[in-house]
């Protein structure tokens, strides 16, 4: 009842739309922070847009990039956005590692201080 081309278009619409909803739900439940959800929402939003307007947006984009098979252009766009998400992860991890390092160093210095002070005043029993 569907042609292959129609099946592709349907999958291209349903999958990102569902994932968009999942991300919104995760943010609503505070399982995902707003700032980290933004790039995901942009990624899935753009994919949904292209799937909804295949003739105007997607074909135009495929033509622009010289891609013969328009759904392939969708993969290119989705892949590019995903790389951005991954880059954001690396940035966040770097920042977390830096903060973790500083916390660990402070803990080491403060513990040494606490032990000294305890020895001076006598450890509370």
């Amino acid at each position: 009842m569907f042609s292959n081309y129609e099946k592709v278009e349907l999958v291209m619409l349903v999958v990102p739309a569902a994932l968009f909803a999942v991300v919104v739900e995760l943010v609503r439940r505070r399982r995902l922070r707003e700032d980290y959800s933004l790039l995901w929402l942009v990624t899935f939003g753009v994919l949904v847009l292209f799937a909804v307007f295949p003739n105007s947006l997607l074909d135009g984009l495929a033509d622009l990039m010289g891609i013969f098979y328009p759904p392939a252009a969708l993969f290119v766009v989705g892949f590019g956005l995903m790389l951005l998400v991954l880059l954001q992860f690396s940035l966040v991890i770097t920042r977390l590692a830096q903060q973790n390092k500083q916390s660990a160093q402070r803990i080491a210095l403060l513990s040494a201080r606490v032990r000294e002070l305890e020895q001076q005043i006598g450890t509370p029993e």
């Binding site: 973790n100 513990s111 040494a112």
Partner: protein
């Protein structure tokens, strides 16, 4: 040598400014086999110095041994890598107002008897950092050929950049004066820090020199160097050096933010 003494010295520092205060920092990750011997030798070589062992998340008896031998133990709650461990030691030296910070490996490779020589050079005031080099004089230290090649490549690259001859840029046997370790307390590479730090020091206008030392094969424990890691080491260090040159010139600052935070908080 006890922690009590450390505190007393901190409070009476103004009254006895004549004798320079020296902190020997030993970064240690699972060094229970060799650490006690190293600390004892440090005490023998420089009895006036305090010893701080930075326990970098060891799973063995490293912290107990360090404490048993009279060192102050700075225990990191997780393994941060040698660079961040050393930085913790520099932060401690800064916090407690030491004049000189000595870096000695916990594996017994460095000979603590040579610490007075390093100290004598830095006390002359001609350098802010004194690095002990295995390769200025041939004192019989045998380096595996591949590692020697890596060190020669790094030494040449760094000498070229900083326009001063360095023969052993990976050496972790060093003395820093206050100006230098204040800088490190703020800005120090998290891992494989030695070669990169020479370039950072140079850019910050911190003066360095190398003097010949003897190094021993390690007493115990496991070397962290494997063929795969050596490759990663070279790539990481060279990349860090190149990126370092692309950064804004680092500044030497007087006060370090973490001490301010400690005082305020």
């Amino acid at each position: 040598m006890s922690q009590q003494v450390t505190v007393t010295q901190t409070t009476t520092r103004e009254e006895t400014p004549l004798k320079p205060r020296v902190l020997v920092i030993i970064p240690a990750y699972n060094e229970e086999d060799s650490l006690g011997r190293v600390i004892r030798q440090v005490h023998e070589a420089v009895p006036e110095a305090d010893v701080a062992v930075v326990n970098d998340g060891s799973g063995d008896a490293t912290p107990e041994i360090a404490e048993g031998y009279g060192a102050t133990v700075l225990s990191l709650p997780c393994n941060l890598g040698i660079g961040s461990a050393m930085q913790t030691g520099f932060m401690f030296a800064h916090e407690r107002g030491y004049d000189y910070a000595v870096q000695v490996d916990g594996d017994g490779q460095h000979d603590p008897e040579e610490i007075p020589e390093l100290l004598a050079v830095i006390q002359s005031g001609d350098a802010d950092v004194v690095v002990g080099s295995r390769y200025i004089e041939d004192r019989g230290y045998i380096t595996p050929r591949v590692r020697r090649l890596g060190i020669v490549i790094l030494a040449n690259l760094i000498s070229l950049i900083v326009r001063q001859r360095f023969t052993d840029p990976t050496s972790g046997f060093r003395v820093l004066n206050r100006r230098a370790f204040y800088f490190c307390a703020n800005d120090y590479p998290f891992d494989y820090p030695e070669p990169e730090s020479i370039v950072t020091f140079w850019r910050a206008g911190i003066r360095m020199c190398e003097i010949p030392v003897t190094m021993n094969p390690r007493y115990g424990g496991q070397s962290s160097i494997t063929p795969l890691r050596s490759g990663y080491y070279m790539v990481k260090v060279i990349m860090s050096i190149v990126i370092n040159l692309l950064r804004q010139r680092p500044k030497v600052v007087g006060e370090v933010s973490h001490v301010q935070q400690l005082r305020e908080g």
